[in-house]
């Protein structure tokens, strides 16, 4: 599909952080179904390093799980942890990385291969995407830096994207930052209130289908083979809340090292766009951060006490 007119298709492309596939859809170069099919093709063919090592018999499943678990507490990449643990030699890692890179299918390649877009149109669109993304990224970074609560928001977002990647294999980008405005609709909210010198509430907002995917990935990361239902139930919410509990625990550990005293309360959950609770009386300032992933979107909201930023 080419040349279809959409709201976003103007001479001046909309400035918004997004993935290339989403940009191509917003510009009318491909349809959402074509993008979904291309993402499926990518997932089937682009093996993560651990899966590649497993398929070649260089690692066993137990070693794979150990490396994944250790990665959750570090910034280190899979290969580095595997070498440090003695599961892979440096030479084996280099060979795996070379093989992975050579076989890697980019989303544009997958769309061209499927006939969704021609190579020339794609090349022009990619150039346009790079320009727009650079501007959008600068805008979001500036908004994040300008927040009075940057000391809290920045590590909260970094930890969220890190845990989504490490535990769920989800690559997320910060798409937008806003203050005191309503979120787009999400089916569920998972939150945790934190008492302390600068109390706050962390909340993750996501749709039911994404909560199911997230829970399944967390179970896998924890080596739990329990089959989850097709719909969100208390078990799924329990897994989601534990994900937030792990995230907030690590956030508080980081804040503690920066000199802030924190005491997290048990995590909670609710349906729809409800306002998460806060553990203090009076006014609440809410910062919403929209996260985009290749197939979906989530949001993080942080509730703080107005005035705390200057305390």
């Amino acid at each position: 599909m080419t040349g279809a007119t959409t709201d976003a298709q103007t001479s001046e492309p909309q400035v918004s952080v997004q993935f290339l596939g989403q940009f191509l859809v917003s510009q009318g170069h491909v349809t959402r179904d074509e993008l979904e099919a291309a993402l499926d093709f990518q997932e089937e063919n682009n093996l993560p390093l651990g899966a590649l090592a497993l398929s070649k018999g260089l690692l066993n499943e137990r070693q794979l799980l150990i490396v994944h678990a250790q990665q959750m507490n570090t910034e280190d990449r899979f290969g580095e942890v595997a070498v440090r643990r003695g599961f892979l030699t440096r030479h084996q890692l280099d060979e795996l990385l070379r093989e992975q890179k050579e076989a890697r299918i980019l989303i544009g390649d997958a769309l061209v291969r499927a006939g969704a877009v021609d190579a020339d149109t794609l090349a022009v669109a990619v150039q346009q995407y790079r320009v727009v993304q650079e501007r959008a990224q600068e805008q979001v970074d500036a908004e994040l830096r300008a927040l009075p609560d940057a000391h809290l928001i920045s590590p909260a977002i970094q930890l969220t994207t890190r845990l989504l990647l490490r535990m769920c294999g989800l690559v997320a980008k910060v798409a937008a930052v806003s203050q005191d405005t309503r979120l787009a609709h999400f089916d569920y909210a998972l939150w945790q209130e934190v008492e302390g010198t600068r109390p706050f509430t962390y909340a993750l907002h996501l749709d039911g289908i994404d909560l199911l995917d997230l829970s399944e990935a967390v179970l896998y990361a924890l080596d739990d083979e329990t089959a989850l239902p097709d719909e969100v139930d208390p078990m799924v919410l329990d897994v989601g809340k534990e994900f937030v509990n792990i995230l907030v625990g690590h956030l508080c550990t980081w804040l503690d090292r920066e000199g802030h005293r924190t005491t997290p309360l048990p995590p909670g959950s609710g349906e729809g766009n409800l306002d998460p609770p806060s553990c203090w009386e009076g006014a609440v300032r809410r910062i919403n951060v929209r996260l985009v992933m290749p197939r979906t979107a989530m949001a993080v909201s942080i509730l703080v006490k107005p005035g705390d930023e200057t305390a």
């Binding site: 678990a69 507490n73 179970l219 080596d223 329990t226 509990n245 792990i246 625990g249 690590h250 503690d256």
Partner: protein
């Protein structure tokens, strides 16, 4: 010989993780609890050799449950298991009598290694 373990965590997921980790080892999961109050009751009832105790829980948190358990039995062997790894929380629990601290998420390997390190001889 097997060691009797009480696992305390408000997350069913984490209680199941412990159960699975202890399967076919020298450790036997004899009881679980989902909050601090239930943990103290279970401790009185089953008198475990080892306790795995979460920090952030409803009704009564881990540090408060730890104090009550230590006042019931000063030689109780308690390992704190939490995603919260602040110096204050860790130090307070170790000073109150906990023997070790494990930060979530943890591997089965680390859990077993830590349990073995504090087993009664």
């Amino acid at each position: 010989m097997s060691y009797r373990v009480l696992a305390v965590d408000d997350s069913l997921l984490m209680r199941r993780k412990v159960e699975k980790s202890l399967k076919d080892t020298e450790f036997e999961l004899v009881a679980t609890a989902g909050d601090g109050e239930a943990a103290v009751e279970q401790f009185k009832e089953v008198a475990p050799d080892l306790v795995l105790l979460d920090i952030v829980m409803p009704k009564m948190d881990g540090p408060s449950a730890l104090k009550q358990i230590m006042s019931l039995d000063g030689s109780a062997r308690v390992i704190m298991v939490s995603s919260l790894g602040t110096d204050e929380a860790v130090t307070a629990c170790l000073e109150a009598g906990a023997l070790r601290f494990i930060q979530k998420p943890f591997t089965t390997e680390l859990l077993l290694k830590t349990l073995r390190a504090v087993c009664p001889s």
